[in-house]
């Protein structure tokens, strides 16, 4: 069983990448479980043809934790991908990080953390220990950073490297950085910049996904690109990413950059 997690700045395209990756893996005959770890609960929506599935924490909130069954929180989407959304509190109250921990504990209790590939799609940044949960206790052993060439996106990716480095150093720490996924924002010299960033943190660029209007069209039609435009070049990119991830054995403890080094790197590629 391969357990991977996608981390990156909010709005950078993690959920789009995750859903298309799951769809491509399912096409390859894999039993895939995708878990959205974000109170926004929209990670699996395109796999579910636009429907908002009930979240794990919805069930917990209603006090049904004791009697909950897998079919109340695990839903079949495109090509049988099993979809789970952790959910979370309303903005401004409670502790979403604790919610992620509770979700994992519940999924484990229900024996639902299984499959050929488990893909964790985690909220923007590792803002607290709760959102580092997929990286702890042997859940996601392979972490992928999703980033564009924008400085703030690289900054977030670099911060996540800090979390990986810290957690990997623990006695039971098994999480490693598996690579960087570039998600193009249409910026000049973007791919070389993301590749250079990956090199500097002692990892590698797994795939660079170019910006393509087909992604937006697929989402308007409430589908993944794999389903909406299976013969498109973009679908090919996602399939290539899926293949790379399945074959990837290059797992490292990254070396995060200092803020000055990160800015210097960006200066090399982004015109002042």
């Amino acid at each position: 069983m391969k357990q991977i997690a996608l981390y990156g700045k909010g709005g950078i395209g993690k959920s789009t990448t995750a859903a298309n990756l799951s769809a491509a893996l399912a096409e390859m005959g894999m039993d895939v479980l995708q878990i959205g770890c974000d109170p926004k609960r929209d990670s699996t929506r395109m796999l579910m043809h636009g429907s908002w599935i009930p979240t794990v924490l919805d069930q917990v909130r209603e006090g049904r934790e004791a009697s909950i069954t897998p079919d109340q929180i695990v839903f079949r989407g495109f090509r049988g991908v099993r979809c789970v959304e952790a959910g979370g509190p309303e903005p401004g109250v409670g502790c979403a990080g604790r919610g992620i921990i509770a979700t994992f504990q519940l999924l484990e209790r229900l024996d639902s953390l299984k499959g050929d590939v488990i893909l964790y799609d985690v909220l923007g940044d590792v803002v607290c220990g709760g959102f580092a949960m997929p990286m702890r206790e042997g859940y996601a052993q392979e972490v992928y950073l999703v980033t564009s060439g924008e400085l703030m996106s690289l900054y977030a990716a670099n911060n996540i490297c800090r979390a990986i480095a810290r957690l990997a150093g623990r006695v039971r720490g098994r999480c490693r950085l598996a690579g960087v996924i570039g998600n193009g924002a249409g910026q000049a010299r973007e791919e070389p910049l993301v590749r250079a960033f990956a090199d500097r943190i002692h990892s590698r660029l797994v795939t660079f996904i170019p910006r393509d209007p087909i992604v937006q069209r697929a989402e308007i039609n409430r589908m993944t690109v794999i389903e909406f435009a299976p013969d498109s070049a973009q679908a090919g990119v996602y399939r290539s990413l899926a293949k790379s991830i399945l074959e990837n054995r290059n797992l490292v403890i990254p070396t995060p950059l200092s803020m000055d080094d990160l800015e210097s790197l960006a200066m090399e590629f982004i015109p002042a």
Partner: protein, 346 residues
């Protein structure tokens, strides 16, 4: 975010702010205290206070409720659980409800003050606490005393008398100390008007604005003294009396605040001290050693007492105990000397 430094020392009474806050609020006999957090925080603190009171042979039922915050409350916010608990407590028609909050409530960011400010038909006072995140015992006690002052309103009607502020309700000698301070005040013709807060009712709290002088239990409560001075215009003395000369100084300073001549009271107290010390003449010349009760050196009150009695300080002398906090007034010293005698003549 609170970034309170941890207490420099964790000896004796240094629990968290909950314990300190409870030591005050549970002394409002017709009030109710809610601990907003997991039930275990209430159980632990209530049991700690109950055990202490039992040890002093003064157990009484503590009116404490818990909002019983669980995993769901932590994830989705605990304000609903707090509101339900306040509603339940208010149904019992208490004079006031005091709300203390725990570490986890601070961590998840519940707006405790906002919930308390709703119209509950009974005063609901939020006491800045936040378990250990809010500091230690002393912080909780101080914050509770200041917060309870909110129940006094803004109207000040000066009527006279002395208010004792912040008695240590969990110490062994709390009643003996009260009697000793009352005795010294009586030498000046003054009485204690209010014990803030010990064994009072909610309706007594407005009395805090009516006394002529507040006497704090210890200097660590100066922030409380300052708060009440600013709010009610009441001056304060920052400590109960400690030591022989400290007791005389207490009389002089109290008289100064009240604008009375202390000469007669001082003369009486000096005579009382002479007579008390004379009762321990059998200890004169004993070789003793005394350890520090706090800090790096023995308290000055102890050095003064040793000198007055003609005891001989020596490193190889009989080690004698020093209480912490130090004994209050001349009466407290007499009790200490009885303990010393038992050790020396054992």
């Amino acid at each position: 975010m609170t970034l309170n430094p941890l207490p420099w020392s964790s000896f004796r009474l240094e629990g968290c702010t909950l314990t300190g806050g409870l030591s005050v609020t549970t002394e409002v006999t017709d009030g109710v205290t809610i601990i907003h957090g997991p039930a275990g925080c209430s159980q632990h603190n209530a049991s700690l206070i109950h055990a202490t009171l039992l040890d002093h042979d003064t157990p009484h039922l503590l009116r404490i409720h818990s909002s019983d915050l669980d995993e769901v409350g932590v994830i989705f916010g605990g304000e609903g659980a707090l509101a339900a608990c306040i509603r339940e407590a208010a149904a019992g028609d208490p004079s006031a409800i005091f709300v203390l909050s725990t570490c986890v409530v601070q961590t998840i960011g519940d707006d405790v003050g906002g919930v308390c400010r709703r119209d509950w038909g009974v005063p609901v006072i939020s006491i800045p606490s936040s378990g250990f995140l809010g500091g230690g015992f002393q912080d909780g006690m101080r914050n509770a005393l200041i917060a309870l002052g909110d129940l006094a309103g803004d109207r000040v009607e000066r009527e006279g008398g002395i208010t004792l502020v912040g008695e240590k309700n969990l110490e062994d000698d709390v009643e003996e100390n009260f009697r000793e301070v009352s005795r010294l005040l009586a030498l000046l013709g003054e009485k204690v008007r209010l014990r803030f807060v010990r064994g009072i009712r909610g309706a007594d709290i407005p009395e805090i604005s009516r006394g002529r002088l507040n006497i704090l239990r210890e200097p660590e409560l100066r922030a409380v003294g300052e708060s009440f001075a600013a709010r009610f215009g009441t001056p304060y003395l920052d400590s109960f009396p400690v030591g022989l000369s400290g007791s005389l100084r207490f009389i002089g300073e109290t008289a100064g605040f009240l604008g009375v001549d202390p000469a007669g009271a001082l003369e009486e107290e000096r005579a009382f001290q002479d007579e008390a010390l004379a009762g321990f003449e059998d200890l004169r010349g004993e070789r003793i050693s005394i350890g520090p009760s706090s800090g790096d050196t023995a308290d000055p009150f102890a050095i003064e007492l040793v000198s007055s009695l003609g005891l001989l300080l020596s490193e190889d002398g009989v080690p004698l105990p020093l209480p912490s906090p130090p004994p209050v007034g001349t009466g407290g010293l007499v009790r200490l000397l009885h303990r010393w005698r038992r050790v020396l003549h054992a």
